[in-house]
């Protein structure tokens, strides 16, 4: 069994303060309850770890910023000077990350670190990041991690995990990777070891939350069935309400598409990459005006297919959706990717 300890709520705060005192950049859910977001905190008191603390956006922006500089340059008629970006050198801790969001970060890893051409900017940041997830003690209506391979106490993408026990019992803390082990202070951090009974209680809690979510795993050859469904007319019905606003991608912990654009004056400029999304009209429009995805159904289909068919086909079946449910909760038109996948996959004549 992985090394684990039992901490009171006060001890968790002390631990966070010690991380801050050691000069780590700590990013955690914080806010006044109305709008909770991941942000850099300066004291443990700002961090919100209670059951209801769910950040509006995923923490992906701390590995894959909304906008970042790829290079800067100065130029005139006959010469150009290029300045590559300076990678950030700060060690950062993403803390209080829900298991779905932690799993989402591993999808970004697949995109930016997989294949022949890794992304150095992402890799630098990833190397300096330690993820401490927070197991869920309650489900929200939009949650569906259990349908897509996750769990309320899932550990994919976590270096360490906090598991809240019913008050006033505090938390269990487990170190899952060497990075996590280092963060908790080595093999003997000074807290009492968690017992088998503690973990029994944690497992029971996770099972209860999974039952609350009530979504069984999507099974069968989902990518294959969706590929077969590519030309079905059902996509028009499914995408009827899609406004093409892109909020689903912006709040998604695994969406990784981006744009590259230059911001410049007459003699100097910056090349940036910024989040972008396949549901926007111009995403694939050619210079000629031809658009291989000319309408909203074809763009919405791309979103569903990428997450549930194309990505799994090259990632050993891993889906590019972790079931956080933000796209369901925040869509202004009430679109629901869960039913889109289920409906499409069952439309295919077997």
């Amino acid at each position: 069994m992985t090394a684990s300890w039992r901490l009171s709520a006060a001890e968790v705060k002390e631990w966070l303060d010690s991380l801050l005192a050691a000069g780590r950049r700590v990013i955690a859910p914080a806010g006044d309850g109305g709008l909770m977001l991941f942000r850099q905190v300066s004291s443990a008191g700002e961090v919100r770890l209670e059951d209801t603390a769910h950040a509006r956006w995923s923490p992906k922006e701390f590995l894959f910023p909304r906008t970042e500089t790829l290079m800067s340059y100065t130029f005139d008629h006959s010469s150009v000077q290029l300045a590559p970006p300076q990678p950030a050198a700060t060690e950062q801790v993403l803390l209080g990350v829900r298991p779905c969001d932690a799993a989402g970060l591993t999808r970004l890893d697949d995109v930016f670190l997989g294949g022949e051409e890794g992304d150095q900017l992402y890799a630098d940041r990833r190397l300096r990041t330690t993820v401490v997830s927070l197991a869920c003690a309650a489900a929200r209506p939009e949650c569906f991690c259990t349908a897509v391979g996750g769990a309320p106490d899932g550990t994919e993408g976590s270096d360490a995990q906090l598991v809240p026990l019913p008050a006033p019992q505090g938390y269990l803390l487990r170190a899952l990777t060497p990075k996590g082990r280092e963060l908790v202070g080595g093999p003997e951090p000074g807290w009492p070891a968690a017992t088998e009974q503690d973990w029994e209680q944690a497992r029971t809690q996770a099972q209860r939350v999974a039952a609350e979510i009530g979504r069984s795993p999507l099974t069968g050859d989902l990518p294959g069935r969706l590929m077969d469904a590519f030309e079905l007319p059902i996509w028009s019905t499914l995408a009827e309400r899609c406004l093409g606003c892109g909020i689903c991608a912006y709040v998604c912990p695994s969406c990784s598409c981006f744009d590259i654009s230059d911001q410049a004056s007459a003699y100097c400029g910056t090349r940036c990459r910024s989040w972008d999304t396949c549901t926007l009209t111009g995403f694939t429009r050619h210079a000629s005006g031809h658009n291989p995805r000319p309408d909203q159904p074809s763009r919405y289909r791309q979103r569903v297919m990428h997450k549930f068919a194309y990505f799994p086909l090259e990632s050993d079946g891993r889906l590019m959706c972790v079931g956080c449910g933000r796209c369901v909760a925040l869509c202004p038109a009430g679109m629901d990717i869960r039913s889109a996948v289920e409906t499409t996959a069952t439309e295919v004549p077997s």
């Binding site: 790829l70 290079m71 340059y73 130029f75 008629h77 006959s78 010469s79 150009v80 290029l82 590559p84 970006p85 995109v111 930016f112 294949g115 051409e117 890794g118 992304d119 150095q120 890799a123 590929m227 590519f230 030309e231 990784s256 598409c257 981006f258 744009d259 590259i260 654009s261 230059d262 410049a264 004056s265 007459a266 400029g269 090349r271 990459r273 972008d276 396949c278 995403f283 694939t284 429009r285 050619h286 210079a287 000629s288 031809h290 291989p292 995805r293 074809s298 297919m305 990428h306 068919a309 194309y310 086909l313 090259e314």
Partner: protein, 275 residues
Amino acid sequence: MNASGYVPQLMRISAQRDETSDVRTLRLDQLNRAPLSWRSGQFGLFSVFGLGESAFTIANPPTRGDHIECTFREMGKVTAGLRRLSVGQVIGFRGPYGNSFPVEEWRTKDLIFVGGGMGMAALHSPLRYVLDNRDDYGDVVILNGARGVADMVYTEEMKEWASIRDVQVVRAVDPGGETPEWDGEVGLIPQIFEKLGPQPDNHVVIVCGPPVMLHFMLQSLDRLGFHPEQIVTTLENRMKCALGHCGRCNIGPFYVCRDGPVITAAELKLLPPEV
């Protein structure tokens, strides 16, 4: 791991040639990096500083590899800016990216190159490669179509190629695009192609043009009995990173920048119809 995959190398425009009123070919010389090596069919991202990047095929073959050429049409912000530059000015280049035409597999075969409009630019490199190794290949037919006479590219080179042994050049314009002096064919490319009566035996057909031309060419080729394995095309989609990351050039699970741009009709058939 690419240390700074987005930082281009610098190249100086050493020559330019206007193909039409809005299409230009540039010759680019590297300023300071080690000589590039590439294969026919690969592409690059060309930077106009202050404006952005555009993807173009590398138009010259590695057999003429002491510089880089590209042919582009002025369509948007970046290409308009590129056309405003003149000889001596500096642009950026990153690449080469993507796969390439299987020119070695084509040895001893008869080849038909079919290029529509700007699609001819993507055929320029493999065609020149073949002509630079003339003895290794069979007969070569070049069918080049455009909307009108004024839209024909590589006009001078076409004359030169037509004089090479066992090379036939057929030039065509769309109906209505001809002028009184036009001595080439008039008609849509698939019709002219069928009129040429090509036989599938020992042939490879290399096609590049707008999506609608490709669609009808594939139908013609099928009618004439060509196998999808004998048909090679090169795709183009809007792209930004060229590294398989930015997520916009895919056709189903096929990323044009990473898995293409060169693809056989047989492979294309396996992809969703989203070209």
